[in-house]
Amino acid sequence: MIRKPTALLVLLGSALGAIFGHAAHTQQAQNNAFLGRHQSLEETTKRGEYLAYASDCVACHTKHDGAAFAGGLPLVTPFGTLYSPNITPDVQSGIGNWSADDFYRMLHTGRSRDGKLLYPAMPFPAYTKITRADSDALFAYLSSLEPLAIPNRENELRFPYNNRSLLIGWRALYFREGEFKPDPRHDAQWNRGAYLVEGPGHCATCHTAINALGGSSDEKAFAGGLIPMQNWYAPSLTLNKEAGLGDWPQQDIVDLLKAGASMRGAVYGPMAEVVHNSLQYLTDADVRAMAVYLKTLPERAGSGSAQTPRGATQVSASVLARGSALYKNQCSSCHRMDGQGAPPAYPPLAQNQSIEMQSSVNAIRMVLNGGYPPQTAGNPRPYGMPPFAQALSDEDIAAVVTYIRVSWGNTGQPVSPSEVNVLRPAALFD
C-alpha cells in the first residue's frame, strides 16, 4: 500500500522529471536539429570527416609542406594566383568565429561569412548541392580540428579580376544555387552516386571544358576538358571513346577509383591525387554507387568530340618503323609486344581509352614523365613507369606515341613532335 506522502513525492518527482526532461529534450532536439538525425556530436564529427574526404578539402586547403587544412596553397589560374584560406577553427585566421549557418551559406551560395563573394576556385557551384545535414557534419568536423593560428595570404589576381563584384556577372552565367534533388526515376544507389559525384566529389569541375571566363556550361558537363595551368586533360566521362564508362565492368570502375589501378588502367596526374587523398577513403558501397551513376551518363560531344578512325596506313612508314623499334626496346618488357600489358600492374595499351582519345596530352605526358599510381589500401605496392623526357627526343616520343595510338586496332591519331615539345615545360609538382 503506497502512503500518501510517498505518492505525492513520486508524483512531484515525475512531474519535475517530466518538466526537466522535456526541457532537456527540447535542448537536445535543438542540438539534434543542428547535428542532424539525432546523432551524437561524435557520430556527426565522424560523418563530417568522411565527407571531408569525399569533398577532398585537404587537397586545396593544405600547403605542400604545411599543416592540414591551414591553407596557403597557391592556386595558379589564368587570372592570377589565389591562396587557399585557413579552415581550421582558429578565431583570427580560420573559421573559429563561424556558425553552422555561416558554413552552409558559404557552401550553398558561395558567399563568405562577411558577405564577400567567393572566387570559383572554391567549387561552390558543385558544393551547393551538399545537403544541410552534410554541411553541418562537415562544419562539426572542421570545428573539431586543432585551431592553427596561421595567417592567410592575400590573393594576387590581376586587374580587373581582383574586383570581386565581377563575380556577380560570372555567377549569373555559371552558377545555379540548389541542394541535390534525388531523381525519383532512379533508385537509392544511383541517387547516392549522383549526389557524391555532382556534390562533394565535384568531378565536373575538372572533367568539363572551362572557357576563357573560367566557367563551364551545363550541356558540356562531364564531357572532358584540359585543366588550365596544369596541362593535363581530364577525359570525358560521357564518351565511351574517352573515359566514358558505359562499357566498363562495374568492378573495374570501383578498382580504378578506390584502389587507383584496375584491369583497364591506372590513375595518374591530378587523378592520382584525387584517389590518394579522397576516393580511397570512401566505402565500397559509395564508390560502387558512383560507378553506377557514372555508367549512366549520357554520351555527349564535348571538347573531345568523336574522332575519325585513322588506321596505321595513314601514318608515315618511317615514323611507324621508328616508333615500333622504340616500343620494342623501351616499352614491350612491361606493356608486351601485343600491347596487352599485365594489368593491374602494367596497364594495357591496346584499346586503352587514355591512349585512343583525341587529346594526346595524357599519352605524351605519361611517356615524358612516367609515374607511380598512388599507394592505397587496394594497391599497397604500386608498379611504376619510368620517365623518358631526359632520354628521348621530341621525334622519338612522337614516333612511339603515334605507334601506340594506331597499333593493335587502336583508333587514335598520330602526334607530332611539336605536340610533345610544348608539354615538356608542363608543371610536374603541385
Binding site: 605542400h64 609542406d65 592520382a272 591525387e273 590518394h276 614491350s332 618488357s333 612491361c334 608486351r336 609486344m337 601485343d338 599485365a342 600492374a345 602494367y346 614523365n369 612516367g370 609515374g371 607511380y372 599510381p373 598512388p374 599507394q375 599497397p380 605496392r381 604500386p382 608498379y383 611504376g384 613507369m385 619510368p386 620517365p387 623518358f388 623526357a389 631526359q390 632520354a391 610536374l428 609538382f429 603541385d430
Partner: protein, 233 residues
C-alpha cells in the same frame, strides 16, 4: 637412354620457364625489382647509374640513406621535379622496401671518371678526403664516409662511383640552402666551410677513384663520426 628421357622431362619445364619473357600469359612479376622499374631510365635497372652525370649510382648505398632521400624528395626537402612527382603519393613502408632492394644490389662499378682538373688540384682533393682541413674545421671525408669511402649504415652514403658534377652540385646545393638533411645537417655545415677550389678538387678526386676493395657500407656504430648528423643516429 631412359635416364636421358627422364632428365629431359625434368629439365624441360625449367627450359621453358627461362625462355619465356614478356609474352607469357603470366602477370607482372610480384617482386620489388619489377615495381621499381620506374627508376630504371635514370638510375639503371639495378641502380648502377648511367653515363648521365645528373643521376647518381644508388646500388649498394645504405638502406637508411636511400630511405631518407626518398622521403626528402617526397616531402620537398630536396628539389628535382621528376623525383618529386614520382614519389608524391608513396608512403614510408614502400620506401623501406625500395631502399632495401637497392641497398642489396651488388653491381660492379664502371670505370672512374677521367680527371678534368690539374694534378695539383687532384692532390688537394686527396688531401681533403684523407686529412681534411683543420684550419677551417673541415674533417676528412673518410672520417664519416669510411676509410674506403663506402659509407656507414644506416645513413652515410659511399662516395665512389659518382660523377664529379653530381658531387659538386650536391655540395653547392647544401651551401646555397636548397638541399636539406635532417637536423643537425652536418653536410650543410661542411659545405659552408669549403672554398670553391676545395669543392672542385674533392669532387674531381672522388670521381676519379677506382672501385674500392669492399663497397659494402660499414656496420652501424662501427666507429664514431666527428660531427653529429641527424641522418646518422
Amino acid at each position: 637412354m631412359s635416364h636421358r628421357i627422364l632428365l629431359a622431362a625434368l629439365l624441360t619445364p625449367l627450359l621453358i620457364g627461362s625462355g619465356a619473357r614478356a609474352d607469357t600469359p603470366a602477370g607482372a612479376p610480384d617482386t620489388i625489382a619489377a615495381r621499381v622499374q620506374g627508376c630504371a631510365t635514370c638510375h639503371g635497372d639495378s641502380g648502377q647509374g648511367t653515363q648521365d652525370p645528373s643521376f647518381p649510382r644508388i646500388a649498394g648505398k645504405p638502406a637508411g640513406y636511400l630511405f631518407n632521400q626518398l622521403q626528402n624528395f617526397r616531402d620537398g626537402r630536396r628539389s628535382y621535379p621528376p623525383m618529386n612527382y614520382l614519389l608524391q603519393y608513396l608512403h614510408d613502408d614502400y620506401f623501406t622496401d625500395m631502399a632495401a632492394f637497392f641497398a642489396s644490389q651488388r653491381i660492379p662499378f664502371g670505370p672512374p671518371e677521367p680527371a678534368s682538373v690539374s694534378a695539383n688540384q687532384l692532390a688537394d682533393g686527396e688531401q681533403l678526403a684523407h686529412r681534411g682541413d683543420a684550419a677551417h674545421g673541415i674533417p676528412p671525408c673518410v672520417a664519416c664516409h669510411g676509410a674506403q669511402l663506402s659509407g656507414i649504415n644506416p645513413g652515410i652514403p659511399g662516395l665512389i662511383g659518382l660523377h664529379s658534377r653530381y658531387i659538386s652540385g650536391q655540395i653547392e646545393a647544401w651551401r646555397a640552402g636548397t638541399r636539406h638533411a635532417k637536423a643537425p645537417d652536418c653536410m650543410s655545415d661542411i659545405s659552408h666551410r669549403l672554398s670553391d677550389a676545395q669543392i672542385t678538387a674533392v669532387a674531381a678526386w672522388l670521381a676519379s677513384q677506382p672501385a674500392p676493395q669492399t663497397s659494402t657500407p660499414a656496420a652501424q656504430g662501427s666507429w664514431k663520426t666527428p660531427l653529429a648528423c641527424g641522418s646518422q643516429p
